[in-house]
Subunit: 169 residues, 2 copies
C-alpha cells in the first residue's frame, strides 16, 4: 500500500530530464529553421531579476543530484556550472540522468525517516525527514526550474506543448 | 521503508494551494500600492497561445481534485470554472483545499496499484497505475500550472520569491 523512496524519485528524474532533452532538440530545430544561434536561449530570463535559462537547467540538475546523494548518504559530486552552449547543457542533463541511474533502490531504503540537512549560504540549514525533503523541497524545486526552463523556450517560440512536458508516451 | 499514497498527495496539495493564497495576497498588495485593478492579472498569458492566469489556477485545482477523487474511487464534483475576480479565485483555491482535506488516508489505501483512467477529449484515455498517475501525471501537471501562475505574477511585478513558492516555513 505504499511507494518506495527510490520509486518516488529516480524514475521521475529520469523521465523529466529525458523530456528536457526533447525540448532542447526542438529548440535547436527552431533556431535552425529561423537561422539564429540556438545558444541565444541560454541567457533568456522571464524577468530581469530572475535567473537565466542555463541556471534553471543547472539548478534542476542539482536538485536531482542532491536528492539522490542525500537520500543515499553519499558525498555529492561537485559539478562546475560552466555550461556555455546548448551541447554542454545537453551533456549536463545526460550526466544527471547517468548519476540518478547509478543508484540502486536498496541504497535509498529507509531514507524516508532519515534526517536530511540542506545547508544554506545565509541562514541555518533546512532540516527535513527524507520523506518531506522529497515531497516539499526536491520535487517542487525540480518542477519549478524545469517549468521555468520550459516557459522560456515556449515564450521564445519553440513549439513544445504539455505532452512534451509530461513525456512518457 | 515506504510512503503512503495519501501522504504523497494530500499534504503536498494543501501546502501548495496555501502557498498560492499567499501569492494572491501579495498580488493584491502590489496592485493596491500601484493603484491598478488586481483583476488585471487574471487575463495575463506568458505567450499569446498559452492559457491565462485564471486557467492556470483552475487547472491546478482540477489536478488536485481529480487526483483525490480518482485515487479514492469516488465521483468527481464538477466545478464551473467561472471565476472572474481574484476573490473568486481565492474561493476556488480554498474549496480545493477543503476538498483535499475531506479525504482520509484510508480512502487512498491500495490505490497505488489500481488502474486509473483519465479521459481525453480527442484521443483514447490515458491509463496509469495509481502510483504512476500521481508521479508522472498529477504532480508534474500540478507544478506546471502553479509555476506558470507564479511566473505570471512574478513577471507582472509581484514581489514573490522561491520561499513563497516552496512555503512551509
Amino acid at each position: 500500500m505504499t511507494i518506495s523512496m527510490h520509486a518516488l524519485t529516480a524514475p521521475v528524474f529520469v523521465r523529466m530530464f529525458s523530456n528536457l532533452l526533447g525540448w532542447l532538440d526542438k529548440a535547436e530545430a527552431h533556431a535552425a529553421a529561423r537561422k539564429f544561434d540556438v545558444n541565444n536561449y541560454l541567457g533568456l530570463r522571464l524577468a530581469p531579476d530572475m535567473l537565466p535559462f542555463t541556471r534553471q537547467v543547472q539548478i534542476a540538475s542539482d536538485a536531482a543530484k542532491g536528492c539522490m546523494a542525500r537520500l543515499a548518504g553519499v558525498e555529492m559530486p561537485k559539478w562546475e556550472d560552466n555550461e556555455a552552449t546548448l551541447d554542454e547543457l545537453r551533456a549536463r542533463v545526460r550526466k544527471t540522468i547517468d548519476y540518478v541511474n547509478s543508484f540502486t533502490a536498496a541504497q535509498l531504503d529507509g531514507s524516508e525517516s532519515r534526517e536530511i540537512r540542506v545547508p544554506r549560504r545565509t541562514s541555518e540549514p533546512l532540516v527535513f525527514t527524507g520523506e518531506d525533503f522529497v515531497k516539499h523541497y526536491t520535487l517542487p524545486n525540480l518542477y519549478f526550474h524545469l517549468t521555468t526552463a520550459y516557459a522560456l523556450l515556449r515564450h521564445g517560440g519553440v513549439e513544445i506543448g504539455k505532452a512534451d512536458f509530461l513525456g512518457g508516451r
